[in-house]
């Protein structure tokens, strides 16, 4: 598969990197940059899929001397490692995206918040930031323009919930990593109460790439609602796990598994988790779905973070459910009742099911009710999506099979 936007292997060597995206941006007015991003149809690549241009425009339109850009590099979704790939292999593209978003929104300060476990990525990005300061691509009068931008790296302490933008902001401020009540949205009152853009690593890298073209090939790609390309990280029972760039709508989930990842290891596919463990599982029969936001949503699942996990039919599904539930039990921040108590209680029920080897219909009913309540009333995206996968596996594999 040809890499379209991330095709240039301009890895870690600054001398070879052209910063064309940033140079183009600095020649334009901020609103023009925003327009170009809007035209590209770029949606946030962290999981929520919010249109990036609109987010930038909102912050740009707020008058405030201090605004912030935060690059969310707290990639913690199990099975997702495309941000790590980007930071380790294309650090300058990521940083370029941050600087461009700063320029477009009128922000002079940026943070890149990298999860603490990404030791290598932290080293590389740190060095890259230092080099950019040396080369006058960060700091004052960037590339001889009158644009000023400072960037700081913050290392996460290891809480998955800090991937939620408000938890991440709390964490940077030195508070507990727990979600804030929205509204106010971070674009209005974010870091230190100032207007703040929080974008995922991949989103910003894509923005840099989009800006490097005079025309806008990005908007020509994909489907109307899912434009451009997406980095998919594939792991699990496949022959060629890794990070692949996929043009939206060109391939089905099955194609991605079979053609890009070399097919399933083992007898046959049991199920595929298409976008990290916050997204619902797809059974083998459901895999012919084109890889787009809208098509996966139609199937009751989601693109999520793009972390695709393939599970062979030979695996014990309950073991996976137990693993996933353990993860969410441990990682809920504990502030809102539905998420804290829901994940705790479901974990207890799932442990019982795992020990026994099958669920009762009563247990599936309770799990379904808890998922309904938690996804309706939790305080942040973590809670909202924490029980989706677990419930989908029970619904798809156990409701008909088991009756006690």
């Amino acid at each position: 598969m040809e890499r379209i936007f991330l095709k240039k292997d301009l890895g870690k060597n600054l001398e070879e990197y052209d910063f064309l995206g940033l140079k183009n941006a600095l020649k334009m007015q901020p609103q023009q940059v925003i327009n170009k991003i809007k035209e590209s149809g770029l949606r946030g690549r962290g999981g929520a899929g919010f249109p990036t241009g609109i987010k930038w425009e909102t912050v740009f339109s707020i008058e405030n001397d201090t605004k912030f850009i935060i690059c969310n590099a707290d990639e913690g979704e199990p099975g997702t490692f495309k941000d790590r790939f980007l930071m380790e292999n294309l650090p300058f593209k990521v940083l370029e995206g941050i600087i461009i978003s700063g320029y477009a929104t009128g922000s002079k300060y940026g943070y890149i918040y990298i999860r603490g476990e990404y030791v290598e990525a932290i080293k590389i990005v740190k060095k890259a930031i230092e080099k950019l300061y040396e080369k006058n691509i960060l700091g004052e009068n960037i590339l001889n323009s009158d644009f000023l931008f400072d960037l700081k790296l913050v290392r996460g302490a290891g809480a998955y919930v800090c991937g939620d933008e408000t938890s991440l902001i709390n964490s940077i401020e030195g508070d507990r990593g727990k979600s804030r009540i929205k509204p106010p949205l971070p674009v209005f009152e974010g870091l230190y109460g100032k207007p703040t853009v929080v974008n995922n690593v991949e989103t910003l890298a894509a923005a840099a790439e989009i800006m490097s073209y005079d025309n806008n090939p990005y908007s020509q790609m994909g489907t109307e609602k899912s434009r451009g390309t997406k980095l998919v990280s594939i792991s699990g029972d496949v022959n060629k796990p890794g990070v692949y760039e996929v043009e939206f709508g060109k391939l089905t989930v099955k194609d991605i598994v079979q053609e890009l990842a070399g097919g399933v290891k083992g007898e046959k596919i049991g199920f595929v988790i298409p976008g990290g463990i916050s997204t619902e599982a797809l059974t083998e029969e459901e895999l012919d779905v084109p890889y787009t936001y809208e098509n996966l949503q139609k199937m009751g699942s989601n693109i999520g973070s793009g972390g695709m996990i393939v599970v062979s039919s030979q695996r014990n599904h309950l073991e996976i459910v137990k693993n996933v539930s353990d993860f969410f039990r441990d990682e809920t921040c504990g502030t809102c009742f539905p998420c804290r108590e829901g994940n705790k209680n479901i974990n207890k029920i799932v442990s019982d099911i795992y020990k026994r080897g099958y669920p009762t219909s009563h247990e599936i009913e309770i799990i379904s009710d808890i998922q309904y309540a938690v996804s309706s009333a939790a305080r942040c995206g973590f809670g909202e999506s924490s029980l989706n996968l677990i419930l989908s596996i029970f619904e798809k594999f156990y409701t008909k099979k088991v009756e006690v």
């Binding site: 990593g177 009540i181 504990g334 009742f337 309904y372 309540a373 309706s376």
Partner: protein
């Protein structure tokens, strides 16, 4: 702006929260982590409502109304969600055979029970989970039972937002999140003031006072002991609430009768000791004022406030009045003057206090004045004892306090409300300084429920600047202002609890603003109804000085009625 609530149109002129809007529309939405005195927190999610066009439910406490908003407070999705959340809360609340509602401190005032009923929970389908944390019994005043805690944060927020004491915090994360004190040291080993505001705030039985009911029952059954009781001013205007009466019901005489029925040998009034406190404190103030002593003078009746100052502002210790609180003065007089009169030894006398306060339990054991009082009961504990003894408080024949330690003035009574000590002191100080009779007894300027009140009182051509402060958060503000030279004051009354003793940590639950105001009205009604309204006109006090103490600030007074303090920082 126009808002539709459950398909009916309402108009509001302000951008208020959905919760406030529904309240105005007389629709009740269940809440647990919400409290009128605290910043909305949005964690229990029981107040979640459906809003047309929104993907998920929104918490009514932290979501503001917008023009054209369509809100559904009890749709099927809302009902189903609330019910499940409530099931989860109950499952984690530590209910099993050993730890059930029957034995809980909040069995009669349990908020989660009330909310569960509102929501219509009929079964708990999830298995109970216990966090298995030990009880915290390190404090003389407050017990924590973490297994009953639902981590709503209200105690943490009350301690921080209202009291600015900050001894409670959240530890760990996720399901292991729990409420604790600094380094898990326990309430007795941190800067807790024992004010008990956390108990009032707790919706479950996770916090309650250290009970002394059993010890009091034992003393009452011990025939070799002469057991006397004193009741604080704020108890009489609150205790009837525990028996279903409206807040503000005065039940002094019923309570006196009830105490006799319990078997106390004598029933006395802390108001008597309050009058005594005024005699000493007003004279202390006059002396400091005339002799360029340390000013402003700070009142010292509230042990929660005293401990707060000892921990946080030791530099102001000399500003504290050296007067013991009325509770302790009562004990000291009872065990000397009164015991002598009876011809019994101090050891055979047991002094019990009924207080609206949990900090009094700590004050009792302070080494500076240990032995004055033997046991302290809160208003709630006394109600429990009445119930246990089958005393139908609202219908017992009304009786009067015993003499002489039951004789008191209206000035003693108003100690129960914020501003009362100041007003009582001013009534006496005015007449002592001027030698003239005070025409208008009611100092309206110092009354009311506001946290910080200031007034200038003219006595004999001198303008006296006074302030009345309730709630420790407000105390901190005023102390900071005095420290920075932004406030020049001569006399300040401080009370640890919002509203003063009527809002004390030992009072009936719920205690909210509406209830506080009713109790306060009742306090001033008690004052108005009394024939004597000035401490120095109390005949029993006059006799006490004549027979025993000689005069205010005498050597004897200093020995028995004054104390010292401790820098605790």
């Amino acid at each position: 702006m126009k808002v539709k609530i459950n398909n009916r149109e309402y108009e509001f002129d302000q951008e208020i929260s959905i919760l406030d809007a529904t309240k105005k529309a007389h629709i009740k939405i269940p809440t647990l982590c919400y409290s009128e005195k605290l910043e909305p927190f949005g964690s229990c999610r029981l107040c979640s409502v459906e809003i047309k066009g929104e993907r998920t439910l929104k918490p009514a406490c932290v979501t503001k109304i917008t023009d054209g908003m369509e809100i559904f407070t009890h749709s099927q999705r809302v009902r189903k969600t609330r019910k499940t959340i409530m099931e989860l809360i109950i499952a984690s609340h530590g209910i099993n055979c050993n730890l059930n509602c029957l034995t809980c401190s909040k069995s009669g005032s349990c908020e989660i029970k009330e909310v569960a009923e509102e929501i219509g929970v009929t079964e708990i389908r999830v298995p109970p989970i216990s966090i298995g944390l030990p009880e915290d019994r390190s404090s003389y005043s407050i017990v924590r039972e973490p297994q009953k805690c639902i981590v709503c944060n209200r105690c943490v927020r009350k301690c921080s937002e209202v009291q600015s004491v900050n001894i409670l915090t959240i530890a760990n994360r996720g399901p292991d999140t729990y409420v604790t004190t600094f380094m898990d040291k326990g309430m007795g080993n941190v800067d807790c003031t024992n004010c008990g505001q956390c108990i009032l705030e707790c919706p479950t039985g996770a916090l309650h006072e250290v009970y002394q009911m059993d010890q009091v029952w034992a003393a009452l059954s011990d025939e070799s002991k002469y057991v006397i009781v004193q009741t604080a001013p704020a108890v009489r205007v609150a205790i009837a609430e525990e028996f279903g009466a409206e807040p503000g019901k005065i039940a002094t005489k019923q309570m006196v009768a009830g105490l006799r029925l319990l078997g106390f040998d004598k029933v006395f009034d802390t108001n008597f000791a309050a009058d005594l406190t005024i005699m000493e404190e007003a004279n202390e103030f006059i002396e400091r004022f005339k002799n360029n002593g340390k000013l402003p003078l700070f009142t010292s009746c509230s042990p929660g406030w005293v401990k707060f100052l000892e921990h946080n502002y030791p530099e102001f210790i000399d500003n504290l009045s050296s007067c013991k609180s009325p509770q302790q003065m009562f004990g000291a007089i009872a065990k000397t003057y009164y015991a002598n009169k009876l011809g019994i030894s101090k050891e055979d006398m047991v002094v019990v206090s009924v207080m609206p306060c949990t900090a009094k339990k700590f004050e009792r054991v302070r080494p500076e004045m240990k032995g004055d009082v033997d046991y302290v009961l809160t208003t709630r504990e006394l109600a429990k004892m009445f119930k246990l003894a089958g005393i139908d408080l609202l219908n017992v024949p009304q009786e009067e306090y015993d003499e002489p330690l039951g004789i008191s003035s209206g000035a003693g009574a108003i100690f129960g409300a914020t501003g009362g000590v100041m007003e009582a002191a001013l009534r006496t100080a005015y007449e002592v300084i001027t030698g003239k009779e005070l025409e208008k007894l009611d100092f309206e300027a110092v009354r009311g429920i506001e946290g910080i009140k200031e007034a200038t009182v003219e006595i004999d051509g001198i303008n006296l600047k006074v302030a009345i402060v309730n709630g420790l958060g407000n105390a901190r503000k005023v102390l900071e202002m005095i420290k920075n030279g932004e406030k020049e004051l001569q006399f300040v009354e401080f009370m640890a609890c919002p509203g003063g003793c009527i809002g004390g940590g030992g009072q009936p639950i719920p205690t909210n603003n509406e209830i506080l105001l009713k109790r306060m009205q009742a306090i001033y009604e008690v004052d108005r109804s009394l024939p004597i309204r000035k401490s120095h006109e109390n005949p029993a006090i006059k006799t006490l000085y004549k027979e025993f103490l000689e005069e205010p600030l005498s050597e004897k007074s200093h020995e028995l009625l004054h104390t010292t303090y401790l820098a605790r920082s």
